[in-house]
């Protein structure tokens, strides 16, 4: 508006920009308001874009249910609890894939969460500014590495290292636990979990870093002023203040770990079996889809694979909803609104 007012002042007549609007609203009493039509168009564009998201979601679910109905009808809820996966006899169950997805993600989160927070804390609180800038960029670069690179590095470099050094050591000292039994093959659940951890670490640490930066220094300085130690400030001021954002960072990482495909396919070993040992091979939902989609020619096989995709979708949605609810609960407990 300011702009049009300016132009009219300059030209002294009806400015050219107005002419467009004049065509469709010649008789309007106050022409000054009219350029606001642009605002209205903009509002419509944004609304349509926003509305497209729930429509897309609903469309996804519809297509997946439609393309998996044969499997859903045949196996019902048993699909979730069966470990069978036999394309010859046409029996399919999702349990081993769900288990593999869950275990690998759990290992990844257990490693990446504390590590990511530690990295972010170091960068924000203790690193000299120059170092912080350098490490900050390095972390963001890590996040940009394509997952296939992590997969190949995992298979060719990391898996042999695990087989030769880490797994024999774990087997020797912790071999009495069922978790660390079995031959050290290098590939398997543990390796997958660690590689996933490396992949989500940059996300967690770079988001946490931004969050930690927003903690007002007045709060920290007062705590230090009262004689608090570094650890006390971290525990009592920074972490509670940033909790919201930390949980957000965690779920960003979780979402990525749940759906990671290529890197997992390379190192998980791709066998449809349940095993308590982390040395053993398994499969995740995403890796099964990547492996078996192209050659699945029977309708029931295809439908079982799409049903797996549906399960992954539901797991992701459920975990996000749980995160929101938990967050609300925490805020309430802390006396927020």
């Amino acid at each position: 508006m300011a702009l049009t007012a300016l132009t009219s002042k300059w030209s002294g007549s009806v400015p050219a920009v107005w002419a467009v609007w004049d065509v469709w609203d010649e008789n309007s009493p106050d022409r000054i308001i009219k350029p606001v039509a642009g605002d209205r168009v903009f509002r419509w564009i944004t609304t349509v874009c926003a509305a497209a998201i729930p429509v897309l979601m609903a469309g996804l679910v519809c297509v997946m249910v439609f393309n998996s109905h044969l499997a859903l009808k045949k196996f019902g809820l048993g699909f979730l609890t069966s470990t069978a996966w036999n394309p010859i006899t046409q029996e399919y169950g999702a349990l081993s894939s769900i288990f593999g997805t869950g275990v690998s993600t759990l290992i990844a989160m257990l490693i990446a969460m504390p590590m990511g927070l530690a990295v972010a804390l170091f960068l924000v609180e203790w690193a000299p500014p120059k170092l912080e800038a350098f490490f900050g960029t390095a972390i963001e670069l890590l996040a940009a590495v394509p997952s296939i690179i992590y997969g190949m590095w995992g298979l060719f470099v990391f898996a042999p290292f695990m087989a030769d050094h880490v797994q024999p050591l774990l087997g020797r000292y912790l071999g009495f636990l069922p978790l660390f039994k079995g031959p050290p093959m290098g590939i398997g659940m543990l390796t997958t979990g660690i590689i996933l951890a490396l992949m989500i670490l940059p996300f967690i640490s770079s988001v946490s870093r931004d969050v930690f930066k927003m903690v007002p220094s007045v709060l920290k300085e007062s705590a230090y002023g009262l004689g608090a130690t570094n650890w006390e400030v971290t525990k009592g001021v920074i972490l509670p203040y940033a909790l919201h954002g930390i949980i957000g960072a965690g779920f960003l990482g979780l979402g990525r770990a749940l759906g990671e495909t290529m890197a997992v396919t390379f190192v998980i070993g791709n066998s449809h079996r349940l095993s308590a040992s982390l040395f053993e091979t398994g499969n995740s939902i995403a890796s099964t889809l990547a492996n078996e989609f192209t050659e699945a020619s029977e309708p029931l096989y295809l439908h079982a694979l799409v049903a797996l995709g549906l399960v992954l979708f539901l797991i992701t949605v459920t975990s996000q909803i749980a995160a929101q609810l938990w967050l609300r609960h925490i805020i309430k407990k802390a006396g927020g609104k």
Partner: protein, 348 residues
């Protein structure tokens, strides 16, 4: 002209030449399917294009996807590592014929064992893949290899994780030689493996094999060669221990009864003949029998004819086995009989 200007001009000329080429080009043939023969098909296509100007666009999307695409008529030909059953072909009005032959090779990673050292027969091989024989110093394996010192290491089976024609051939072999395998596991592009770990693609299996000590797996012949994996000598139906090679694959293909197999549905595993490699298989081309456009149909067949006539050298260079001439004769007589355009035969 500055450097950037020159570069820009070059880019524009390149794009223009390509567009002009595309507009000017002769007929285009579209095909899709198996990834195993992709290297040789694309070489053939390249060479054929240079000679005749006919462009062949082959997408290696997997056998299953290839069959789906030819059925949906989005391509001119499909390609599959596993033959379709005669009834299924008739149902859709399709014809298939073998284009190239390959062998599946069991390979091992045992310290001190070189390619061709280890001897196995069909029974021990099946029992290893069933998980019944668990270590390399099992009496059954030692009995077949009296001169070799085998470690007491655990056996790790490596199989394909993705559905594949290689698995189709290998499991058909195991089903042919073992009734237990046939009943418990069966044969197909993907099966429910009793033991082992799965690698994606031939390259996935090859790399797992190289990483895991004491492992045994199966790969396409070309992969075994290129990765210098230790292949075994396998006892064939005639009782001979044979190495995987062009010669033994050819022997298996020649021994098969192509003439009397409906729709060329021939599984080349466990073939008779002293020189036959027991785990051999063909990769197939799938076409429609009825073509609306006779000229296009002839273009299609001309390409395959050229491959049979002049493609052997390229195939051998890439470690594939060409179809024996005797079999090509049978295939061409099938073209004459079955491929039609508006009721008239296309191939003469």
């Amino acid at each position: 002209m500055s450097k950037t200007d020159k570069l820009l001009l070059a880019v524009i000329l390149f794009i223009a030449a390509n567009i002009a080429g595309a507009l000017h080009a002769g007929p285009i043939i579209h095909g899709a399917g198996a990834s195993f023969p992709y290297p040789v098909y694309s070489q053939w296509a390249h060479k054929y294009n240079q000679i005749t100007g006919v462009k062949i666009n082959y997408q290696s999307v997997g056998s299953g996807a290839g069959i789906r695409q030819i059925k949906a008529k989005t391509v001119d030909f499909g390609a599959s590592d596993a033959p379709m059953k005669a009834e299924e072909l008739d149902e859709s009005g399709l014809i298939q014929f073998p284009m190239i032959i390959g062998g599946v090779v069991p390979v091992v990673n045992i310290k001190g064992i070189n390619p061709g050292d280890l001897h196995l027969d069909s029974k021990t091989l099946t029992e290893i893949f069933l998980g019944k024989i668990k270590t390399w110093d099992d009496p059954a394996i030692i009995a077949l290899n009296p001169g070799i010192k085998l470690p007491s290491k655990a056996i790790t089976v490596v199989h394909r994780a993705d559905g594949s024609g290689t698995t189709w051939i290998f499991t058909h072999y195991l089903s042919a030689v073992s009734s237990e395998w046939k009943e418990r596991i069966g044969a197909g592009k993907a099966v429910s493996w009793p033991v082992g770990v799965g690698g994606k693609g031939n390259e996935g299996v090859a790399s797992y094999l190289q990483r895991i000590k004491g492992s045994i797996g199966y790969v396409e012949y070309a992969y075994a060669l290129q990765n210098q994996l230790s292949h075994i000598l396998l006892q064939n139906r005639a009782g001979e221990y044979v190495p995987p090679s062009m010669e033994t694959f050819m022997a298996a293909a020649e021994g098969a009864d192509w003439k009397h197999s409906a729709g060329f549905y021939v599984v080349l595993v466990d073939q008779p003949g002293k020189k036959s490699w027991p785990i051999t298989g063909a990769s197939f081309i799938i076409l429609y029998k009825e073509h609306g456009d006779a000229v296009h149909a002839e273009t299609l067949l001309n390409f395959f004819d050229w491959c049979y006539k002049h493609g052997d050298e390229i195939a051998i260079e890439l470690d594939y086995v060409p179809i024996p001439d005797s079999v090509v004769e049978i295939i061409k007589s099938a073209w004459i009989k079955e491929i039609k355009s508006n009721g008239k035969q296309v191939w003469h």
